[in-house]
């Protein structure tokens, strides 16, 4: 088992009388896209600030790639905060170079790498523009480049798609995948569950400063599944076939049933086929992360 890129152990962080993070532990597998989920105020930002060494945990330890978190690590981390801004009066090229050099790149390196990203995005003519001349979406693209230009091992993106139109959202998404394929580990923090489903492989759900749920997306869904199945068919269903199962929903040519045991679904399907029912679709309905989120958080 490869060392996880990030290992949090019993992190505690309190502000005055409020406990923002209450003994949180989890691991982020190397080279994965990892979802850090939770409602507003759950403690996600506090955790992220601890991981990026902006603040220090009151208790607990953080390990980046097996090493205890130290002051050299920010150069290996790329962080895009939810609230992000730029110096409006600076020129884009100079600004990105400045930020890249603060991450430890040499001036030459910084210019070359930024230049490469500009070419990739087709935005070479933005180099001498002032930041305030760019639209919000354009600024977000710039910020993305800032986050990745120093080739960090670990990326932390906090609501990266907020404010982006669909085209740019797709662009960033494909960049994220490309980076993952190159071996970069990515922590994706959001409360937009539908985005998580599309992208993340692993998740952790934080609520009220605690780790309430963790694991691979598929496993989590599996854990919370309710053995629901949707059957699409043509014609009529013989009523007696429905007695061993619970009917959750019935529509013309579609029925949602719930079985006691997941293996019973096959038996049901078998029955349908034996009776000559024209089945057009047979799917397990897994809970959405949204449903799971709401359920966990409302408890």
């Amino acid at each position: 088992m490869a060392t996880p890129i990030l290992d949090l152990r019993n992190i505690v962080k309190a502000y005055e009388k409020q406990i923002a993070v209450n003994r949180v532990s989890f691991e982020v597998p190397r080279g994965s896209i990892f979802g850090l989920l939770g409602p507003n105020g759950a403690g996600k930002t506090s955790l992220i600030r601890i991981i990026t060494t902006i603040t220090r945990a009151d208790e607990g330890e953080v390990f980046l790639d097996g090493e205890k978190l130290n002051s050299r690590h920010p150069e290996q981390i790329g962080y895009m905060p939810e609230e992000r801004g730029l110096y409006r009066k600076m020129k884009v090229g100079a600004h990105l170079t400045y930020l890249a050099r603060l991450k430890g790149l040499s001036a030459r390196d910084a210019k070359d790498k930024i230049g490469a990203w500009f070419e990739k995005f087709g935005i070479q003519d933005w180099w001498d523009k002032k930041v305030e001349e760019l639209s919000k979406g354009m600024q977000q693209k710039i910020q993305f480049i800032t986050t990745v230009v120093h080739e960090p091992k670990l990326l932390i993106l906090d609501e990266p798609f907020s404010g982006l139109d669909p085209v740019n959202t797709n662009l960033i998404k494909s960049e994220i995948h490309e980076l993952r394929d190159k071996g970069v580990s990515i922590i994706f923090s959001t409360h937009r569950m539908e985005q998580v489903e599309e992208i993340c492989e692993h998740i952790v759900l934080i609520n009220r400063g605690e780790n309430v749920l963790e694991g691979r997306v598929a496993d989590v869904k599996d854990k919370f599944k309710e053995n629901l199945f949707q059957v699409d068919y043509r014609g009529e269903l013989p009523a007696d076939l429905l007695s061993p199962v619970s009917v959750i929903e019935q529509q013309p040519e579609r029925i949602v049933i719930q079985v006691q045991d997941e293996r019973d679904s096959n038996a049901f399907l078998q029955q349908l086929l034996n009776r000559g029912v024209q089945v057009t679709a047979f799917n397990e309905i897994l809970p959405t992360l949204n449903d799971i989120f709401i359920r966990q958080v409302s408890n």
Binding site: P74, Y79, P81, E83, R84, G85, L86, K89, Y98, L102
Partner: protein
């Protein structure tokens, strides 16, 4: 360390290359020059107006001779006042001066009359009065048969020569006070301006970074203290640059403009000399020479480094406080404005103390204020030209240095909490708590 340097460079270059900075830096000396030239031209214009005045000397005290001035001509008239009044418009006189006969030689008052369409201007009035007064004096001396030489001996010019009582005391001249006041005053004003303009610049920059959220991006790469210190040093360098340019340009521009418009200074000198109680040319020149000598005699090797030290010490002290306050202000500017008051009050108080210290540099108020770190950067420089005791200067320097360092550190602790906190009600008490938050 090189990150700190990167930040300093950026903070400096973005401000120094800004158009508003270049304009302000270059236009201010120009403004001085324009001021001098305009004032000079005004004086020059006044003296261009040629005036003719008729004198009816009823008592004959002038004996029909009077010296003309530049652009001011006198003519004795034997015609009567009535004649002149009737023919006034055809004659080209600006006015008719009537000096009545002297009835009482011992009287100390005399009213003379100036008939004209307009009131005499101040310069004419004072000229006429001094001329008539001087002439009348000579007339009375002769009429009373007094000995002019004996009369002159009555007035003795007293000069006070300061002498050191022992070898250690300072050998000053009477101009020391004036020069010292000048030096101290300039320093005080410069400090005052620097603290307000550049201290506020630091504060605004911190606030801007907070409101547009760039600070979140920055502190994932650098420590908050580095960001704060880099900003303070960068802005301070901008201030130094501007003051240095002014220190060179302003005297240069003033010098050039007085050369080009050379007539001005002459006219100004003449005007000054004709004021009652004004000095004659030789006195003025002697005074200027002595002032320059005094100026050179100041212990510049000591004063200049100390100036620079207090300049920097005072700046760091106050700028760091401004940074701390700036970090506490959120998007709501109004609330935070009141926090700047505790910072600006000591500066204002120090300025007023400095004015007092110039007159009484060794009074206890001056001494203690030049040692108290919040006032020292403004008060001590004013005392430097008066050669204060060495131990006072040393103590002051040590305290200012220590306090600056302490305040920078303290402000750093407030800054690192403030820049990440939004929406909380900001009071001084709140800021105090932040100092103790663990990192």
């Amino acid at each position: 360390m090189d990150k700190l340097w990167l930040i300093i460079k950026r903070e400096y270059l973005t401000r120094v290359t800004r158009r508003s900075f270049i304009l302000a830096t270059l236009l201010t000396p120009l403004g001085f020059a324009v001021f001098f030239v305009v004032v000079g031209l005004i004086f020059q214009y006044e003296s261009d107006e040629a005036r003719k005045i008729a004198i009816i000397d009823e008592g004959g005290i002038f004996g029909n001779t009077i010296k003309d001035e530049e652009n001011l001509y006198f003519k004795f008239e034997s015609r009567s006042l009535e004649t002149l009044r009737q023919q006034f418009d055809e004659l080209e006189y600006d006015g008719v001066l009537v000096i009545p006969e002297i009835k009482d030689l011992l009287s100390q008052e005399l009213t003379i009359y100036y008939y004209a369409k307009k009131q005499p201007t101040l310069d004419i009035e004072s000229l006429i009065r001094s001329r008539v007064s001087n002439q009348l004096r000579d007339y009375k001396i002769e009429a009373l048969q007094l000995d002019p030489q004996q009369l002159q001996a009555l007035d003795t010019d007293i000069e006070l020569e300061p002498e050191p009582i022992d070898d250690e005391s300072e050998d000053a001249t009477k101009l020391t006070g004036a020069i010292a006041a000048g030096i101290g005053g300039v320093m005080g004003v410069v400090m005052y301006i620097v603290v307000f303009i550049y201290g506020m610049m630091v504060m605004r920059s911190v606030m801007e970074e907070k409101t547009n959220r760039i600070v979140e991006v920055m502190i994932s790469s650098v420590r908050p203290f580095q960001l704060m210190l880099g900003k303070i040093v960068g802005v301070g360098a901008v201030g130094l640059t501007q003051v240095a340019i002014w220190a060179i340009l302003i005297p240069l521009v003033v010098f050039i403009s007085t050369l080009v418009f050379g007539i001005d200074s002459d006219a100004q000198m003449e005007m000054a000399q004709q004021q009652p109680g004004g000095m004659n040319p030789e006195d003025t020149q002697a005074m200027v020479a002595m002032a320059l000598e005094e100026f050179k005699n100041q212990n510049w090797w000591l004063i200049v480094p100390l100036f620079i030290f207090y300049f920097l010490g005072g700046y760091f002290l106050y700028a760091s406080l401004f940074a701390a306050v700036g970090s506490a202000m959120g998007d709501d500017l109004g609330e935070g404005q009141s926090l700047t008051i505790p910072i600006t009050i000591p500066v204002i108080i120090a300025f007023y103390i400095m004015i007092v210290a110039i007159e009484a540099p060794n009074s206890s108020l001056a001494v203690w204020s030049s040692i108290f770190p919040l006032f020292a950067p403004i008060v001590m420089p004013a005392r430097l030209a008066f050669s204060p005791p060495v131990w006072e200067v040393v103590l002051s320097v040590v305290l200012v240095a220590a306090t600056s360092v302490f305040f920078v550190w303290l402000s750093g602790r407030i800054y690192r909490v403030g820049i990440l906190l939004y929406g909380k009600k900001i009071t001084l008490k709140e800021l105090g708590k932040w100092m103790f938050y663990s990192d």
